[in-house]
């Protein structure tokens, strides 16, 4: 789903959304919050794995990581991963403990930058806390950079003994 379908959706939308949601989206510097949008706006980040009713993707604001090209971002994210107690649930190196592994290349709630951002900022069912109230967006993006920097193993699906 790309710009083309976004335009189609904008054209077809009957629900009044914030004008910003229908702007042509490229790389919006990310506060994945509604900054500047009207009160009724919903920011929906794209989840590639979703199935769209009617085959139509809802209006989405494409959000990407402002820290993606910052070489130090992943290192800073690694420190945050410890200081914000992420490792207490996800294990040191995010290999999984109470919470799932974040290094296996598999994602319950989507692996795009925006999905991971939302998982951290808004929390998820089954006990992932919402950190958006205590972490500035720039800090959340550093965590996203760190998590995305963890290389998934080449083959996770089969164990041969």
């Amino acid at each position: 789903m790309t710009h083309l379908s976004s335009r189609l959706v904008c054209a077809l939308a009957i629900i009044v959304l914030a004008a910003s949601a229908c702007r042509e989206q490229t790389d919006v510097p990310a506060t994945a919050t509604t900054g500047g949008a009207s009160e009724n706006a919903l920011v929906i980040s794209k989840h590639e794995g979703r199935i769209f009713a009617g085959g139509i993707a809802p209006p989405a604001e494409r959000v990407s990581n402002s820290a993606a090209h910052d070489a130090k971002a992943a290192d800073e994210g690694a420190s945050l991963f410890t200081s914000m107690n992420c490792d207490g649930c996800h294990g040191g190196g995010a290999v999984g403990a109470v919470g799932p592994s974040l290094t296996d290349g598999r994602w319950r709630y989507g692996g795009a930058d925006a999905n991971i951002y939302r998982s951290i900022a808004e929390g998820r069912p089954k006990g992932m806390p919402a950190y958006g109230g205590v972490l500035q967006p720039a800090m959340v993006w550093r965590l996203v950079a760190y998590i995305k920097s963890l290389p998934p193993p080449k083959d996770v699906s089969t164990e041969a003994w």
């Binding site: 207490g88 294990g91 999984g96 109470v98 799932p100 319950r108 089954k126 006990g127 992932m128």
Partner: protein, 590 residues
């Protein structure tokens, strides 16, 4: 509750033949299992004797039931009035099986509404350690901080009391105990910087009657002048003075293990878990009363005595393991004893009236301390194994933070052999603490690489028989993997336990000879029970379903979530050849 005459006769003959008398208020017929640890003394011993070393070879499964849930199946069923009660891990369904009908169909099931956020707040898998029966009620905890009472006959919910707060990092997997009209409960959360407590509820209404913290000032700990007397520690406000200012407010001290009760002394005994954070540099001082045994009056919660097994715990040595109350001969004298196999690797035999330590010996390899000084009650520390952020990565500490024995794996005592039977772990760890901040609702630990098993043997565990009068091992069965089930002892002189790779086993209680085994479909982390069926025969029941702490450690035994794929644990690379998660109740008979 009226008892069958034969059961009364059996109970009386047992009582007279088992002199010196055990410290248990045994009114239930021995063919039932009405409380988590079998009796108030927590012996997990049954007087049933049809299954013996001679007959156990014909033990075979007669029934099984899939609980429909995954997650570690800790705890044990209850059997009351020919009904078996099973509490599952989250979402904590309560099943009631009719043992008088062919195939043991359900009488009813109770499906509570449990907050799924509890899944991520529970440190150590979504386990439940069991229910308790009293006065026609089945009482147990939901993982999300509620205690419920269910009518044992009809399955109707009688009351539902919120006792704990998920948003503070509290969850409630422990099994309550009921003493007269008081329901006793506590919360987990040592990894979340809670302010740990015990509560006493009214059995009839579920109302919270008292709350006692395990740490903090005397007014919260309910340590009253004139009532409280610790054997080794003098002075007041010990739960506060042994912490830096206010550190106790997020000091952990959870209650996640087993409760026992002495009706003559009117004391409830329980172990308190670890202090928070794991980085001990942030909480200088003894940190009382974490990693301690507390003795309280069940009626009003007042603290009578306390003893700390691991002062200033720097290794996550929760003292949550069971306090077994038996009268033992120690150094030629009969003592009212309390026996406790601590995570820290020492077995303690104590005077349960005063808290004096009579015997303290290592039951696994221990190197964080050389011994327990009986004059002071304190461990003699090995400074090389002290941890804290200032000490970096401290290597090869034994035992690991899973303990020489996990509190989730309770022992059994046999008055026939006068031995304790324990599931133990033979492993060591590296421990690297780091500075951490407390953020409510998130882990408060400060540990970078908490666990790395190193071991000097190929056997990661053993099932042992232990003499607590002298602090000596009688025999052991070495196991490939750490042993995580509870134990069952019987008058027939057979003991039962289960392994992580899914074998349920029986051994001769005197010699340790392995007599029988059966592969139960998933690792065993629960506690076997025995009961008399409606036909008068002896039955054995146990859960299969690997999990608990072991779920966090063993990496790849989860098959059910495609988005959570882990490497095998480096110290047990092939465990997943033998087990995945599961959830089955098994019943065996001759």
């Amino acid at each position: 509750m009226s008892l069958p005459r034969s059961a009364v006769v059996l109970a009386l003959s047992l009582a007279s033949s088992l002199a010196p008398a055990l410290a248990r208020a045994q009114t239930a017929a021995d063919g039932q299992w009405t409380m988590p640890s079998k009796d108030f003394a927590a012996t997990r011993f049954s007087g049933l004797a049809q299954i013996t070393p001679a007959t156990v070879k014909s033990l075979h499964p007669v029934w099984s039931f899939s609980t429909g849930t995954l997650g570690g199946h800790e705890g044990q069923p209850l059997v009351v009035h020919n009904t078996m009660y099973v509490v599952t891990p989250y979402p904590n369904v309560l099943y009631a099986f009719d043992l008088t009908k062919d195939g043991y169909p359900l009488k009813w099931k109770y499906r509570p509404n449990v907050d799924q956020n509890a899944i991520g707040i529970a440190c150590c898998d979504v386990v439940n350690r069991g229910a308790v029966y009293a006065e026609g009620k089945i009482v147990y905890n939901l993982l999300d901080g509620h205690t419920v009472a269910i009518d044992a006959a009809s399955g109707k919910e009688l009351w539902n009391t919120k006792i704990a707060d998920l948003s503070k990092g509290e969850t409630t997997p422990m099994a309550p105990l009921i003493v007269k009209d008081r329901v006793l409960v506590g919360a987990s959360g040592g990894e979340f910087g809670i302010l740990g407590w015990m509560k006493g509820l009214d059995l009839a209404t579920g109302k919270i009657v008292w709350t006692a913290t395990n740490i903090g000032p005397d007014s919260l700990v309910l340590a009253k002048a004139g009532t409280f007397k610790a054997f080794y520690d003098k002075g007041a406000q010990l739960g506060q003075s042994t912490w830096p200012t206010d550190a106790w407010k997020k000091g952990g001290a959870p209650v996640w293990g087993w409760l026992s009760y002495d009706p003559e002394l009117d004391l409830v005994y329980y172990g308190v878990g670890n202090p928070g954070p794991y980085n001990a540099d942030q909480r200088l001082g003894d940190n009382k009363w974490t990693a301690s045994v507390l003795a309280r009056r069940p009626g009003d919660g007042s603290l009578v005595w306390a003893y700390q097994f691991t002062p200033h715990d720097s290794w996550d040595f929760d003292a949550a393991a069971e306090m077994v109350l038996v009268d033992l001969e120690v150094k030629g004298k009969l003592r009212k004893a309390l026996v406790h196999f601590d995570k820290n690797g020492f077995e303690y035999t104590m005077d349960r009236a005063t808290g004096e330590v009579l015997v303290a010996e290592p039951y696994v390899h221990v190197n964080w301390a050389s011994k327990i000084d009986l004059a002071t009650g304190r461990p003699v520390l090995n400074e090389a194994k002290a941890t804290g952020a200032s000490k970096g990565n401290v290597k090869d500490i034994c035992p690991t933070l899973e303990g020489g024995k996990s509190p989730a794996s309770p022992v059994a005592y046999s008055p026939v052999t006068k031995l304790f039977y324990a599931s133990t772990n033979s492993m060591c760890m590296d421990y690297a603490a780091v500075q951490t901040a407390h953020l409510q609702g998130t882990p408060f630990m400060g540990i970078n690489s908490p666990y790395h098993a190193g071991s000097d043997s190929t056997n990661l565990g053993a099932f042992i028989a232990w003499d607590a009068s002298t602090g000596k091992r009688a025999w052991e069965i070495k196991e490939k993997y750490p042993v995580w089930s509870g134990s069952l002892a019987t008058r027939g002189n057979v003991v039962f336990y289960g392994t992580l790779d899914g074998w349920f086993k029986a051994a001769n209680a005197t010699t340790g000879a392995l007599l029988w085994r059966f592969k139960v479909g998933s690792g065993v982390v629960g506690n076997p029970i025995t009961f008399t069926g409606a036909d008068g025969k002896q039955y054995i029941a146990v859960f299969a379903g690997i999990g608990g702490d072991w779920l966090l450690l063993s990496g790849d035994v989860n098959s059910a979530d495609p988005a959570d794929v882990r490497d095998p644990a480096d110290f047990a690379r092939d465990l997943a050849r033998h087990t995945s998660q599961g959830g089955i109740v098994w019943i065996f008979a001759l």
